[in-house]
């Protein structure tokens, strides 16, 4: 790819500081934005075909259009930096290596929609990201890009970092708002949507880190330019995180619409020596698993759906022939059960049942009837819960069972798992080991 956008500063030394960021053209977009009308900017964002990078792919310009113009309460911006979807590690790079990009995007967004306060919700483990964002915010205040009368305009905006405290469910937008308010991260029933009643009862915009980091470029180059860097309905380049059994795992910038094969071969260096691709997960563990036959699918929300899965966070996990699909499904069910916030019975109980049944199957204690039981369990979760975490377990688990049914049956017939290890160099797996989460005992 010729010109880099989102990752252009990733290898620039000290790009997380104001002087270096400004030398590279930083905050020029902000200065341009404050000369533009709100509606002009919203139209540019619509034209750009920018899609939400948190996983759902909602068109960003459309979401912005939902924000009420008038409000008695101050309106809020909340940035989702909770990055917890298994296999996903892209927003962390932006926050650690190019924090000003995100901050500039926040200020432009606030100008456009009349937002008064902003919070960047960063998962608490990412202390480097938190420190860098906080010091970059300080620099932005010192420059007059944050605070009151920004750039001499009738424009006040304050921006803060809010640390998460270890809960995957706070990645869900209303769970995140609960966490911002100091409460347990239990998602809210929608409607009302955050644009109407969000943080502190006020209209609130929720966007992902990578989504907002793209805004300065759209202002600078125009929406059409951004759209042209992608495919139909999916504008711009984006970040792809590649991991698993590949030679060069990492975060790479590439156009929307690139194929999985190109990502694997040209960016990820191909599979490890001795490894053959068995399956991949295209965008975090909530997506359906895919087979090598789908390698030529394009990374876009519609194209991945048509290929039988979803783009999700576009962080792809590649798995080789040593991987047991029953174990993957079991490990994932365990994850979602652990992370369920517990308010909906189908999710709380269903994830527990799925984890139990899958654990037994993987250990070789399963029966053939368990496969139907498992299908029943996930059918009862899907669509019956407050938030999408329920679907996030039902949809992938069903896909493992449908696509790799013979592996499940083999476990039952053999009475054990035929795949000896997690990793290609590995020893024996230890899925049956009791959970070592020392925090859970008293929770």
């Amino acid at each position: 790819m010729e010109e880099l956008f989102l990752s252009r500063n990733f290898s620039v030394k000290n790009a997380h500081t104001m002087p270096v960021y400004e030398q590279g053209g930083g905050y020029v977009a902000l200065k341009k934005a404050v000369t533009l009308e709100s509606q002009t900017i919203i139209d540019e964002v619509k034209k750009s075909n920018l899609r939400g990078r948190g996983g759902a792919g909602f068109p960003t310009g459309v979401k912005w259009g939902f924000m009420p113009k008038e409000s008695d309460l101050p309106k809020y911006l909340t940035i989702n930096g909770d990055e917890g979807e298994p296999g996903t590690f892209k927003d962390r790079s932006i926050m650690e290596l190019d924090p000003h990009r995100l901050i500039e995007g926040c200020i432009i967004t606030a100008w456009t929609l009349g937002l008064r306060y902003g919070y960047i919700y960063v998962r608490g483990e990412l202390q480097v990201a938190i420190r860098r964002l906080e010091s970059a915010i300080k620099e932005a205040y010192a420059k007059g890009y944050l605070g009151t009368k920004i750039l001499g305009k009738d424009f006040d905006f304050d921006l803060y970092v809010h640390p998460g405290a270890g809960a995957y469910i706070c990645g869900e937008e209303t769970g995140m708002i609960e966490g911002l308010e100091g409460k347990p991260g239990q998602p809210r029933l929608k409607p009302p949507f955050p644009a109407v009643v969000g943080a502190f009862g006020a209209p609130t915009l929720v966007n992902n880190v990578e989504t907002i980091a793209a805004i300065p470029f759209i202002i600078e180059r125009g929406g059409e330019h951004w759209a042209a860097l992608g495919i139909e309905k999916n504008g711009g380049p984006k970040l792809y995180g590649l991991s698993g059994h590949i030679k060069k795992p990492g975060v790479y910038e590439a156009p929307s619409g690139i194929t999985v094969r190109e990502l694997l071969e040209e960016y990820g260096g191909g599979m490890l020596d001795g490894s053959e691709l068995k399956a991949f997960i295209p965008g975090g563990s909530s997506c359906k698993v895919m087979l090598p036959a789908a390698l030529d699918a394009q990374m876009g929300f519609e194209t991945m759906r048509d290929a039988g899965s979803s783009m999700g966070t576009a962080c792809i996990t590649f798995m080789d022939q040593s991987v047991c699909m029953v174990r993957i499904a079991s490990r994932l069910a365990h994850f979602y059960h652990h992370e369920s916030c517990g308010q909906c019975t189908p999710c709380r109980e269903g994830t527990g049942w799925a984890a139990k049944v899958l654990g037994a199957l993987e250990a070789g204690h399963g029966r053939m009837e368990d496969l139907d039981l498992l299908m029943d369990v996930v059918d009862n979760i899907e669509g019956n819960t407050i938030c999408a975490l329920g679907d996030s377990v039902a949809i992938p688990v069903r896909s493992y069972l449908e696509i790799f049914r013979s592996e499940f049956e083999e476990h039952v017939k053999l009475g054990c798992c035929p795949h000896p290890a997690w990793s290609i160099r590995g020893t024996k797996p230890k899925l049956t080991k009791p959970r070592a989460d020392t925090h859970q005992a008293d929770a």
Binding site: D91, P163, E181, K183, K430, A443
Partner: protein, 176 residues
């Protein structure tokens, strides 16, 4: 003994509450400050935080127990958590956990008798491209990521570094 934030923490706390429209919203970061000063989040610490934020103790309790980063029982001076989610598991996350069990002489979920180390698992820590990895949270509340720990040499280098520092760290059990 009545609990009291250290002077430095007190300054941070005052700045913190100015960031939010409600005191309740300052609860997550305030619990981190409390854990930094008092080592772990006991009922006594929850009561102190409740008083400082003018919240009912039950509100503090429900939040403190919901989030896994608050230790409701003390852990070791260094809390090592190995990521064992998919991408890490594929690159040796479980093997790393076993090696640590051998090196530290404790099983996952346990704390060493001297109170130095607690070993555990973590779910995906947004480090999947540099697997296998673990995070270490020390008793000051500082978190460090150690990544690309496929080789024994890489692991040994990290453990040596941790061992050199461990004497200078306070024991969470004795911090309040």
């Amino acid at each position: 003994m009545a609990l009291q934030f250290s002077p430095g923490t007190e300054t941070e706390f005052i700045e913190l509450i100015s960031r939010y429209p409600t005191r309740h919203a300052a609860l997550l970061p305030t619990l981190f400050l409390a854990q930094k000063d008092f080592g772990w989040i006991s009922v006594e610490v929850m009561d102190y935080v409740a008083a400082r934020l003018e919240l009912s103790p039950s509100k503090v309790l429900t939040t403190a127990t919901f989030y896994t980063m608050y230790n409701k029982t003390p852990v070791g001076k260094c809390h090592i958590q190995v990521c064992t989610t998919l991408s890490c598991a594929f690159r040796g996350g479980y093997e790393l956990l076993e090696k640590l069990e051998d090196r530290l002489g404790i099983r996952a979920g346990e704390t060493s008798a001297d109170g130095n180390y607690t070993l555990g698992e973590a779910e995906c820590l947004a480090s999947c491209g540099t697997a296998p990895m673990f995070q270490v949270t020390d008793s000051h509340g500082d978190i460090a990521y150690f990544e690309n720990l496929e080789s024994d040499a890489a692991l040994d280098a990290v453990l040596t570094k941790l061992n050199e520092r461990i004497e200078s760290l306070p024991d969470p059990r004795k911090m309040h």
